[in-house]
Subunit: 105 residues, 2 copies
Amino acid sequence: MEYSLQTMTPKEIMPGFSGRMVHGQKMSLVFWEVTAGAEVPSHHHEHEQIMHVLEGRFEFTLDGQTGTYGPGDLVLIPSGVPHSGKALTDCRLLDAFAPVREEYR
Amino acid sequence: MEYSLQTMTPKEIMPGFSGRMVHGQKMSLVFWEVTAGAEVPSHHHEHEQIMHVLEGRFEFTLDGQTGTYGPGDLVLIPSGVPHSGKALTDCRLLDAFAPVREEYR
């Protein structure tokens, strides 16, 4: 199965967070475009997540610890650990999830 | 857990394939730098894989079908399906695997 980010249609999952997604059987990749100022409130899920900043500056809080992340940075979010985020600039992010984020399909 | 591609040390897993890796409990991300001409012979594994070209041109064969992929392209490789690849230029690739590629740790 082949995909191209250039031809995929993004879905707006939350205000300011539009994602292009590839869902397999065991994992999902989500390529986000995030508008400066957009926030995702604190939440948690069974899915393990790896967050990767491709462009921009993203403030991210994992289990109460806040950091600011830029291109090349990654954060591993274990299953069940609360996290939240805020785009300090327009951002491009990649999130990997295992298992699949079924509610994003 | 935080990582930065800028400070991670790549591991040469195969000739011409050096990877910076993030391993969780359920998945692995591998950021490859691949030298032009480097090849990975046909192989298969239980891990589901999503291959994403970040830079360069990569020839990839999945279950006997060969294509050429560039920046923004993704290929979903289901569990157990044979695949091989060849770097037509120097490339940067991202592979996501679920479950974890334990042998890459």
